[in-house]
């Protein structure tokens, strides 16, 4: 990747030259870098896309600075700031409305995403490594089952899981959200594909000759090599749990247990149905804005992992 990027910037000035003397050297056109006109076209296309993808986010930033009435009638219109900036008041109200339940919801989301994310990653890591590096009895059948399960729609499991957990008095508890989220067949698949490539059998065998046990080989030889795949699977499973809405909606009744997604949805329903005093549009908007910050920051910080890593399985 770094090679291509470097070539791209170095080749750029050449492109214009070569495009004029096309027959001799259509230099970087072949690598996809066309003549100047098409480069301008490409950038315009990207700008249009960026505008489309960024507008809702921009709206959210602007709207979170508005008071409840300012959202309807403001000096700035929907896509610009009003004269009055109300964000601090909104944050204060967010902390006091319904006893500051907003922060409980955000904390719940953290707890669910972290525990399920870490748990799912550990399980996927162990299983993926086992699939990649051992030829045990039943391996092919298990792996075929795993691949098939990637195609099972997880939401189809929610209602039966609810009924099952109800038998064990586990619905409306934190476990009802965390335990089902530990399942990540895709994570196992990604780790397996990656482990097959980066953990050489020769290295493990050398360790065995030196008398290392299988667990030690896993912890000291394989684990460091698998780090990029681990971060990727962790990111994928944390995001999947953090973003989950259906499962929590089905499992939880107690407002104190809700994650942020279901909590904000309750406020939205309340504001739509309720009378003036119960309409808290400004809190919904500010709450939504605050809640997306952690993941945005995480993705910015972990760029080098997800930019290449999310496709671990696709390359194969």
């Amino acid at each position: 990747m770094s090679v291509q990027t470097a070539g791209g910037s170095a080749g750029a000035p050449q492109t214009t030259l070569s495009s004029r003397r096309r027959p001799q050297r259509p230099a970087s056109e072949a690598a996809g870098r066309g003549p100047r006109t098409s480069r301008i076209g490409s950038h315009l296309f990207l700008l249009a896309l960026v505008l489309y993808f960024i507008t809702p986010l921009w709206w959210l930033v602007v709207a979170s600075t508005k008071s409840n009435s300012g959202l309807f009638v403001g000096s700035g219109g929907p896509l610009w700031f009003n004269d009055e900036i109300n964000i601090l008041q909104n944050l204060r109200d967010l902390s006091s409305y319904q006893g500051g339940i907003y922060w409980t919801w955000l904390g719940n989301s953290f707890l669910y995403a972290m525990s399920a994310g870490v748990g799912a990653t550990v399980l996927a890591l162990l299983a993926g490594y086992g699939f990649a590096k051992y030829r045990f009895r039943g391996r092919n059948l298990s792996f075929a089952l795993l691949l098939g399960s990637v195609m099972v729609p997880l939401t189809a499991l929610v209602i039966p899981t609810f009924v099952l957990l109800a038998e064990f008095q586990l619905v409306n508890t934190r476990w009802a959200v965390i335990l089902p989220s530990l399942l990540s067949p895709l994570g196992v698949y990604l780790i397996r594909v990656y482990a097959q490539d980066v953990v050489p059998d020769e290295m493990l065998d050398a360790g065995r000759v030196d008398g290392a046990g299988e667990l030690r080989l896993f912890l000291q030889v394989a684990l460091p090599l698998l780090r990029p795949a681990i971060v990727t699977v962790l990111l994928l499973s944390v995001v999947a749990t953090w973003n989950n809405y259906f499962l929590a909606l089905a499992m939880l009744r107690d407002p104190q247990l809700l994650p942020i997604t279901v909590g904000l949805d309750n406020w939205q329903a309340l504001s739509n149905a309720g009378a003036g005093g119960e309409q808290v549009w400004n809190l919904i908007v500010t709450g939504a804005f605050v809640s997306i910050l952690p993941l945005i920051v995480a993705f910015l910080a972990l760029q080098r992992y997800w930019q290449g890593g999310l496709t671990l399985g696709a390359i194969k």
């Binding site: 950038h43 045990f136 298990s142 039966p160």
Partner: protein
């Protein structure tokens, strides 16, 4: 000693293991595979196999106040596949598949191909921005678009006034379909774009060199070389998108709060199953719907994988 003589064939080739199982040390070692697999296998059995099995069992039974739970065979399935609410929902997600999957993958592929040819600051920034919605929960995305579509809060009326037109009602019965397509496209295209983009980066640049010598243009390189070479990544994102669309739930469920008239409670099969279970306590019939939907999704993805097996190189 034994390990070093036995292991190379066993590890090197897939079928090798069976021939050399004679070695006890080797055999014992391979049991470690199960050791590593077991924790996941437990979760797999408890939260995938058991719910599926239980859903199937429930779908074969019917609960009545008078008789309690009784075995009714495939009666629930007969009811489901002649239930206009379920069939309409199924047809609707079918339409969403036909419209939404090509649009999402098209946007993602076009963006990835363009990004692959550029190494400018704008292109790096665009990559981040297009991907950003993936970091936002679907519920929050739907919530935001709900505000944007709203005639009370949204910018649509202002924007349309600029060109002297009146804004359409995005949340009407006829328009809500397109509005939902837009939300999902916004939410997921960036994720698919990243997968496709990374696959493009995995192509050996020497191939472009060969194409250049043959005089291929950028467009030809993209269509004839790049796209076929990332076929397996494309198959994967289509599968993701297909499975996601067939179990459509979050976006219509959230938008329903602001557009209850345009989105009924049974808009998609998943929403129907949810309301059957939690609004009407019909858990047996809800399980039937969920299980039937699961079968439909599985068959759809399997057929798609089968049809594309040569292109994708997947087994």
């Amino acid at each position: 000693m034994t390990t070093s003589t036995v292991t190379p064939p066993a590890a090197g080739t897939r079928q090798g293991a069976t021939h050399h199982r004679g070695s006890r040390i080797e055999h014992n070692r391979q049991r470690w595979g199960w050791f590593f697999l077991t924790p996941f296998a437990v979760i797999f059995l408890v939260f995938l196999v058991a719910p599926l099995g239980y859903a199937f069992w429930m779908s074969l039974h019917t609960k009545t106040l008078a008789a309690g739970e009784s075995f009714t065979g495939i009666a629930n399935y007969q009811r489901a596949f002649s239930d206009p609410l379920f069939l309409e929902g199924l047809l609707r997600v079918g339409k969403f598949v036909a419209v939404m999957v090509p649009i999402q993958i098209g946007v993602a592929l076009a963006a990835a191909l363009v990004l692959d040819t550029l190494a400018t600051r704008l292109s790096k920034f665009s990559r981040l921005m297009i991907f950003a919605p993936y970091a936002i929960p679907g519920m929050i995305g739907a919530l935001m678009w709900g505000f944007l579509y709203s005639p009370r809060f949204g910018p649509a009326s202002d924007l349309f006034e600029l060109v002297g037109a009146t804004a359409p009602n995005f949340l009407g019965t006829g328009t809500v379909f397109g509005s939902l397509v837009n939300i999902v496209t916004w939410q997921w295209s960036g994720y698919y774009m990243i997968i496709i983009f990374a696959a493009l980066r995995g192509i050996d640049p020497a191939i472009y060199e060969a194409a250049r010598i043959d005089g291929a243009t950028g467009w030809q390189t993209a269509v004839r070389i790049k796209v076929p070479m990332i076929a397996s990544a494309l198959v994967m994102v289509v599968i993701f998108s297909l499975i996601g669309t067939l179990q459509f739930f979050t976006e219509p469920a959230v938008l329903r709060t602001v557009a209850p008239g345009a989105i009924p409670a049974d808009y998609t099969p998943n929403m129907y199953a949810f309301s059957l279970a939690f609004a009407y306590s019909q858990f047996n019939y809800a399980s039937t719907i969920a299980f039937a939907l699961g079968i439909v999704v599985f068959v759809f993805s399997y057929v798609f994988l089968y049809l594309t097996r040569k292109k994708s190189g997947l087994k």
